[in-house]
């Protein structure tokens, strides 16, 4: 059971955000003061216990004294030191924890892949879990969450220690600066393949930083804890993957054939026909396409130079198509392509590039060449087949694209 003096000094100590040696000096000075004051009061005839209580009372309230003492020791230089130390601690612990998070992801992914591979061999069938690169972004973001969590805690601790301030005093500033920095990085700067899940996970990174800054006692785990955790992640990944088994697939190829009856060409335009003729004919004698950043580049050789002269307004168009598992067909209800690319004509050669990874939610696209006939009708001239795609950009790009589509 602490007496009045010990209780008072302990309370001042917990509220005095000074370096250990400075705090010890202040407490020793207050202790000496209380000794003198108590002795004087006893000499004046007070009971020893009462004298100590009275001596403590004359120093006022512990929180108020601690606050005033802390203020007396403050300087502007400490603020700069606090900002520097907080930034450095956030960078250091944030980077280490992010790398650690990614290590967990790698171990988990390797374990899951190995399990799937073993299961595939056992079952004699290919197991496809449909894990696109936008799901890799989710894993990347999970690593960032771990980094944000530990950087928040480390920044508050370091800023408070070097700024000679309480955690509660530096927390609002750390929260504001850190959330802005992490938000800028995860939401504005980071360009990744995205789906809705990855967008949400990335957008929540600053929130995790705020969580870390709220619980500043959170410290980086020790190597032993990391090793055991990695083992647990690997075992869990093995176990879960084996239990779920992935979604079975036949592994057979899909051959796309554009069929107006099945795919509803009317959603795009009438099939290519020589204007004025009921006989269908091919527009292209040959075409080729190759992957370009975020889309494809194509070259088309027009089979009939005469038909080329009767068409204008050539362009590449990308339309949404269904998932391979659902059979190749355009998604219903489309009236306009979701992406358009310019086409240049050089003799009988048409070439152009279309970028179709800037539309949220599109996973497969049918890329076609269209042109405007003499009657002003746009015709589909040839198709380059279905292309797998994912939105690529920042979270901000995602929302900008959502509002513009």
């Amino acid at each position: 059971m602490m007496n009045a003096r010990e209780q008072f000094l302990a309370e001042v100590a917990t509220r005095l955000p000074l370096p250990d040696e400075v705090r010890a000096g202040v407490l020793a000075e207050l202790d000496a003061h209380l000794t003198d004051a108590t002795e004087d009061l006893i000499a004046q005839g007070r009971d020893p216990v009462q004298a100590e209580v009275e001596a403590v009372a004359r120093l006022g309230s512990a929180p108020s004294l601690a606050r005033e003492l802390a203020r007396a020791h403050r300087s502007r230089g400490q603020l700069f030191a606090a900002a520097g130390a907080g930034t450095w601690a956030a960078l250091r612990d944030g980077t280490l924890a992010t790398l650690l998070g990614w290590l967990f992801v790698v171990v988990g992914t390797i374990a899951a892949t190995a399990t799937l591979s073993a299961a595939s061999r056992l079952l004699g069938t290919r197991i496809d879990v449909g894990f696109g690169s936008s799901w890799n972004t989710v894993l990347t973001a999970l690593g960032l969450h771990l980094g944000a969590l530990f950087s928040g805690a480390a920044a508050v601790r370091a800023a408070a220690r070097r700024g000679w301030r309480l955690a509660t005093e530096v927390r609002p500033w750390v929260m504001a600066a850190g959330a802005l920095a992490w938000g800028w990085f995860a939401i504005v700067l980071l360009q990744q393949p995205l789906n809705w899940v990855s967008v949400i996970v990335l957008a929540l990174v600053p929130v995790t930083f705020l969580l870390g800054a709220t619980f500043e006692r959170l410290r980086r785990p020790r190597p032993g804890v990391v090793a055991v955790s990695l083992l647990v992640v690997a075992v869990l990944a093995f176990g879960l993957t084996a239990a779920l088994g992935g979604s079975g697939g036949t592994g057979g190829g899909h051959f796309y054939e554009w069929n107006d009856t099945q795919h509803g060409y009317a959603m795009i335009a009438p099939w290519w026909q020589t204007p004025g003729s009921s006989e269908p004919m091919l527009f292209a004698s040959s075409d080729s396409g190759w992957q370009a950043p975020g889309g494809v580049s194509v070259t088309v050789e027009a089979a009939n130079p005469d038909s080329l002269g009767r068409l204008s307004g050539f362009r590449l168009e990308a339309w949404r198509t269904a998932q391979p598992a659902d059979g190749w067909h355009l998604e219903l209800g489309q009236r306009t392509p979701f992406a358009i690319g310019d086409v240049t004509v050089d003799g009988t050669t048409l070439s152009g590039t279309i970028r179709f990874n800037q539309t949220p939610g599109v996973t497969w696209a049918e890329v076609v060449l269209t042109g405007v006939g003499p009657g002003g009708q746009r015709y589909l001239l040839t198709s380059f087949g279905p292309q797998q795609t994912e939105f690529r950009g920042s979270v901000v790009d995602w929302f900008v694209a959502l509002t513009s589509h």
Binding site: G25, L30, H33, A37, R58, E68, H73
Partner: protein, 109 residues
């Protein structure tokens, strides 16, 4: 009420003044202020140490731990040349201020 409000802002001046006589430790400073004022002034002991540490941070005082003749080790404070300058400036300011107050209150009588 008036006295405690006036006293609050004058603690650093009172501290500098009693230290003008020589070095003292915290409790002695409080006692010296009380004695020299004829027990008219007894600043809160809680305001004494923040004032001492603030003056020390500003370079007006230097402090040194030393064993006392009795009791625990104590932290002795003494004025620096800068503290002496501050004391002179505070003294001149107080003289002007209290003189002004006196003239006003005398006229009111």
């Amino acid at each position: 009420m008036l006295r405690s409000q006036l006293l609050k802002g004058t603690v650093p001046y009172l501290v500098l003044s009693v230290l003008g006589d020589g070095e003292l430790y915290g409790y002695e400073i409080a006692q010296r202020i009380r004695q020299r004022s004829g027990a008219q002034l007894a600043p809160s002991e809680g305001s004494l140490y923040p004032a001492l540490h603030s003056l020390e941070q500003k370079g007006a005082l230097v402090a040194e731990w030393r064993e006392g003749t009795r009791g625990p080790r104590r932290r002795y404070y003494r004025l620096t040349p800068h503290g002496g300058t501050l004391l002179a400036a505070a003294h001149a300011e107080w003289e002007a201020f209290s003189g002004g107050i006196s003239r006003v209150t005398r006229t009111a009588e």
